[in-house]
Amino acid sequence: MKYSPTDSHPEDARRNRFYAEIWPEAAMLMRTAISLMPGPGKTAEAEDLVQETLLKAFKAIDQLEPGSHPRAWLLTMLRRTWIDRWRLRERRPDGRAADLDSVAEPTFETQPGEYDEDWTDPESLLSRFGDQDIIKALQLLPEAYRWALLLVDVQALSVEEAAQALDVAPGTIKSRLHRGRAMLRDQLHGYASERGWLKSNDGHAIAEGSTHG
């Protein structure tokens, strides 16, 4: 849709443009926000985050180049809003904001992907997990990896767009994607083991930790 120059009131024109170009992306923002909120029952918190993002987008809509796709722009705005909220919530007793980057690049006790050899038929096994399982596993990933997966694998941004949104180099995004997917599989491996979905090469179910003790 194009917003018409015949809109007599600037606020009406802005509103029309918002509903034509931004609002169709609101469900995408909502899905991303739900995947960010740790713990179940956080829909209201996700809605607040998306609403704040959409209101910022409404105010800044003139900065969005006419005809450009707003997805990357909105996801960048969602992330900044999320960080602002996170910093406010995690504010230290001395009043200084906590540093999000200090939790963004964690060190690992184990190498991600250590259970990968158990995934003999990954597509079939992954299809058995419901959306909530995937979200739960995503929520357990470190922030930097979760965002890379959300932007590129879920919301189909290019590596370059994600790099711009997250203010890192494209190579960093590629690395985070690879490691993030491996970490996600490790989480899901645990769920699959609990449910008896994994089979060893001799056809027996693999119990949690039985092959990797």
Binding site: S8, R15, W23, I34, S35, V50, P122
Partner: protein, 224 residues
């Protein structure tokens, strides 16, 4: 090993991509946004051109509006406008039919009424069409604020319902009386038949390639 890693990555990526279609309830957020955004400005009082100034002013206004509407029409339809100077109801009807993502759709009159009410009270945005004004197809004296528009799937075809604001939106030309006692106007200025009805300063236009009696049933049944 590298092949297995590639396969794992692709499968993981594919499963994550399915989250992009996960159903989410947007109803509460939609309501919150409607409450939070600045309200739509009140429509400007519509002065009849003949009463609002001299002929020079009328001519200047006509030229200006023809230019603006012509550009809008060209942007939407990609062809030169043929005598149209604003998006007329029949153009809007065609646009909604050809752009299903832009239109609200109702299967029943009850559903249509809910969608109409929501647009009229501002809790639902207008369909994503070009601009906020619309012109009747039988007048050349101005465009009027669009207040609601949707499609109803009738057994014999799709019917467009358009509500516009403006006492002078349409000339009462061919009055017909519906069985319910409601007075309607039948129009046949385009290939697509339409039935209109006026309540105070609002007009509803119901049009589609169906029997006129079906259009009259819809026009007489809905409240606006």
């Amino acid at each position: 090993m590298a092949e297995h890693q590639k396969q794992l990555d692709q499968a993981t990526q594919g499963r994550l991509a399915k989250l992009a279609t996960m159903p989410v309830d947007m109803s509460r957020l939609e309501k919150k946004m409607a409450d939070a955004l600045p309200p739509r400005s009140a429509p400007k009082p519509l002065a009849h051109p003949a009463r609002s100034g001299g002929w020079q002013r009328i001519a200047a206004m006509f030229v200006l509006m023809a230019g603006i509407a012509g550009a809008s029409y060209f942007a939407i339809f990609g062809v030169a406008p043929q005598g149209a100077y604003a998006m007329t109801v029949d153009q809007l009807h065609t646009y909604l039919l050809e752009h299903p993502d832009s239109a609200y759709r109702a299967q029943t009159l009850q559903q249509a009424q809910v969608l109409l009410d929501a647009q009229l009270d501002g809790s639902k945005p207008l369909p994503t069409v070009d601009g906020t004004n619309v012109a009747s197809c039988c007048l050349v004296q101005g465009d009027f604020p669009l207040r609601a528009a949707l499609l109803i799937e009738r057994p014999t075809g799709s019917v467009t319902v358009i509500v516009a604001q403006g006492k002078d939106f349409a000339h009462p030309t061919e009055a017909i009386q519906h069985a319910s006692g409601v007075e309607l106007q039948s129009h046949s200025h385009t290939d697509t038949p339409m039935v209109m009805r006026n309540v105070d300063d609002l007009w509803v236009c119901v049009m589609g390639d169906v029997d006129e009696s079906d259009l009259a049933d819809v026009a007489s049944s809905i409240r606006f």
